[in-house]
């Protein structure tokens, strides 16, 4: 009888690194990351199948449409490697492999995009920004820390997920997702993310209405006329109600337009440009900047 086929550890590593480095090389609308997936699967297929016909069949099912958030999505590669191994030993069918691949696209993209790309990266960037901002003479420090921490951390996570996918397959991923741990973790990261975004909004968003009324004021007690006294300053008044209320309002407006009204970032940039020009115009018109 034929011996059981197994993917060698070095081949697994090779497959992972092909994916990790070159998943985005040939992205396009027809198969998205399909060709990259095919390249990553090629060494595995070479290991598992003997005849040209078998290899051709296996390759063809891995250059079809595939898409995910590639860093967290390496778990898909792991799972598919496991399934191909089972298939080579007669314990799985090509149809199962294909349907599993399609089924993985949705959840892995969602987790990758929302947890990793939209939460971890901004949080890490924010922390590094704060480090950079702390001192002007070492403002490069945050950038350097990010350059070291992010790629190494992501590579480790990606490899861990790849191995997890290979070893425990679809069940492993399902049990991880069903345990509720992932949801709790996502929610906890969201708490951190939101607090930090709040702080960043307060520190970095600048917006003010450059309008004030300046008059010569007659001081009744001394009988003097004090020239050029600010008797009304729009910004001071607004900030007395709630500090930095305008930056907050602007940020929430942008959020609302982007999330609820589906404005594109380009359109939003245009809006901000128009608002900025209008405010500058007001500032000059009212004599604020002169």
């Amino acid at each position: 009888m034929a011996e059981t086929k197994k993917i060698s550890p070095s081949t697994l590593k090779k497959s992972f690194f092909h994916w990790f480095f070159w998943n985005g090389c040939s992205q396009q609308a027809e198969s998205m990351l399909g060709m990259a997936f095919g390249q990553a699967m090629a060494p595995v297929i070479d290991d598992l199948y003997d005849t040209k016909e078998e290899k051709a069949k296996a390759l063809k099912r891995h250059i079809t449409l595939f898409n995910t958030e590639a860093q967290v999505g390496s778990i898909c590669n792991g799972i598919v490697c496991g399934l191909e191994e089972a298939n080579a030993n007669g314990n799985c069918t090509p149809e199962v492999i294909e349907s599993v691949k399609v089924a993985l696209i949705g959840p892995t993209s969602a987790i990758g995009d929302s947890l990793w790309v939209a939460t971890i990266i901004p949080i890490l960037l924010t922390i590094c920004l704060s480090i950079s901002q702390g001192s002007t003479s070492t403002s490069w420090l945050g950038a350097l820390i990010y350059m070291i921490v992010y790629p190494l951390g992501t590579c480790a996570l990606s490899w861990w997920l790849f191995k997890l996918g290979y070893k425990s397959g679809l069940e492993g991923m399902q049990s991880m997702m069903a345990s509720g741990k992932l949801d709790a973790l996502t929610d906890a990261m969201t708490v951190l993310g939101l607090i930090v975004v709040g702080a960043l909004t307060a520190s970095f968003v600048n917006c003010s209405i450059p309008f004030q009324i300046v008059k010569d004021v007659y001081d009744g007690t001394t009988g003097e006329i004090i020239p050029d006294t600010v008797i009304f300053n729009m910004d001071n008044m607004l900030n007395a109600i709630f500090p930095k209320i305008l930056p907050l309002a602007l940020t929430l407006l942008i959020y609302w337009l982007y999330a609820k009204k589906k404005w594109s970032p380009l359109k939003l940039m245009g809006l901000i440009l128009i608002l900025a020009l209008a405010l500058t115009g007001l500032g000059y018109f009212s004599g604020f900047y002169a």
Binding site: V117, A118, S132, A188, L194, I195, V197, N206, P243, K244
Partner: protein
């Protein structure tokens, strides 16, 4: 800018773009981030401090620009490398706000070029599927890297490096022509710095849309906000408070579930 600086920056624009040879983790998500890009440009142009002055606000503005794939809103790599390099090239006699304003404008130009080139490479990659199918049909596992890595990279490199060289060279030539600081009227600088300050809201607004899922969560955002406005904490301090809150939240939620 010297020619070697132009070439080096153009090379990094390519490396920091989606699907470069070093991979998206090291490329797009690391070298392509404005914070890192500014540091790299600063090293190349020998003025790290000035580069970081524009890098930090650019990073805030583009904080929300994170997702690759079909929904690339803005080509970050182009935007920030060209933004920072442009600001440094024209920096003669500019103060910090002027620098940031310049960077925002150049980043806008760079982003538009980058967006165009992304669409071009996205279209040019399509025929590669035919090559992949041909090799797959033959069962040629040894050649599967050819369409993805070899041709994908050739197209990617051509689409990033060459336009970047053109944009950077023309900027470099233009910056030598006149003393721009004296030519730009005061109201332009004022408008630019107003624009720069308001653009940060774009990054924050988009980021908020990723994070803010349940309505009550807005108070968490506001908590971070008032810690800066009322309590005067630095963002780093707020981040530490945030980590503590997140850990507590996680413990409470997972204990409630196991109970």
């Amino acid at each position: 800018m010297e020619m070697y600086q132009v070439i080096l920056i153009a090379l990094f624009i390519y490396l920091g773009s989606i699907g470069s040879i070093v991979g998206n983790t090291i490329g797009w998500y690391t070298l392509g981030r404005p914070l890192v890009a500014a540091f790299v440009v600063g090293l190349i142009m020998n003025d790290v401090q000035a580069a970081m002055i524009v890098g930090i606000p650019l990073q805030i503005m583009y904080m929300g620009n994170v997702t690759p794939g079909g929904a690339v809103a803005w080509d970050l790599s182009y935007a920030t490398y060209i933004g920072t390099a442009g600001a440094l090239a024209f920096s003669q006699g500019m103060d910090a706000t002027g620098l940031i304003g310049l960077a925002v404008v150049f980043a806008g130009i760079g982003g538009l070029v980058g967006q165009l080139m992304w669409n071009v490479s996205y279209a040019l990659n399509l025929p590669l599927n035919r090559i992949a199918h041909k090799y797959a049909e033959e069962g040629n596992t040894k050649k599967m890297w050819v369409p993805n890595l070899l041709f994908g990279q050739l197209i990617g490199f051509a689409c990033r490096f060459i336009p970047a060289i053109i944009v950077l060279t023309s900027m470099s030539v233009a910056s030598g022509q006149a003393d721009f600081a004296t030519l730009i009227p005061g109201w332009v600088t004022t408008a630019l710095s107003t624009f720069g300050g308001m653009m940060a809201a774009l990054g924050m607004g988009i980021l908020l849309s990723f994070l803010w899922k349940k309505q009550y969560q807005i108070v968490i955002f506001l908590a971070g906000f008032i810690m800066v406005t009322y309590f005067g904490l630095s963002t780093m301090a707020v981040a530490v408070v945030g980590v503590i809150a997140a850990v507590l939240y996680y413990v409470v939620v997972s204990e409630k579930e196991s109970a």
